[in-house]
């Protein structure tokens, strides 16, 4: 039961991260087209870092997909995934009361933070048991 839930969690999160990462990576190249109008007003530097984050997300998502297939791998990557998800939530919460980000995204920041914290909790509690132990 727990292992099945972990596989589903890791696979879905991994797929989401790979897709999101690929979109950020493609956005960088789309922005370079002459006369392009980006969806988000990030500017050249923002798109540069979006491409960086996109590549990192593809790698992270790929690791999660590997963790969904192999539970020993999943057990290894679950704790740091929870830490990173908590970090994603923490900077959104800070961004909520820093006026710049509130003006851009409003309460979406707090909603996203809540989603990331729930995901982090899921990775903490669904983390597969060591090999040889029944969970």
């Amino acid at each position: 039961m727990r292992t099945g839930a972990f596989r589903a969690l890791a696979a879905l999160t991994g797929l989401l991260f790979v897709a999101g990462g690929a979109a950020l990576f493609v956005a960088f190249f789309a922005y370079q087209r002459p006369g392009s109008e980006p969806l988000l007003p990030m500017g050249p530097l923002g798109h540069y870092f979006a491409a960086f984050a996109g590549c990192a997300l593809v790698g992270w998502g790929g690791a999660l997909l590997a963790g969904a297939r192999d539970l020993a791998t999943g057990r290894g990557i679950a704790p740091m995934t929870a830490v990173a998800l908590a970090g994603l939530a923490l900077y959104r919460m800070l961004g909520w009361f820093m006026g710049d980000y509130y003006a851009l995204m409003g309460d979406l920041l707090r909603v996203e933070a809540a989603v990331f914290l729930v995901l982090a909790l899921a990775f903490v509690w669904l983390r597969p048991a060591p090999a040889g132990r029944i969970s």
Partner: protein, 41 residues
């Protein structure tokens, strides 16, 4: 360790819920927006 992580995450979750009713949340963030930041909508 699992319980400590849970405690931290639940504390962050509670802080996230409490933010709007905190003095920081009531201050009115819109006034602190920097002039060069464009609005999305």
């Amino acid at each position: 360790m699992r319980y400590l992580a849970t405690l931290l995450l639940v504390a962050l979750f509670a802080l996230n819920l409490w933010l709007p009713s905190s003095p920081l949340g009531r201050r009115g963030n819109e006034r602190a927006v920097r002039a060069h930041v464009p609005a999305l909508w």
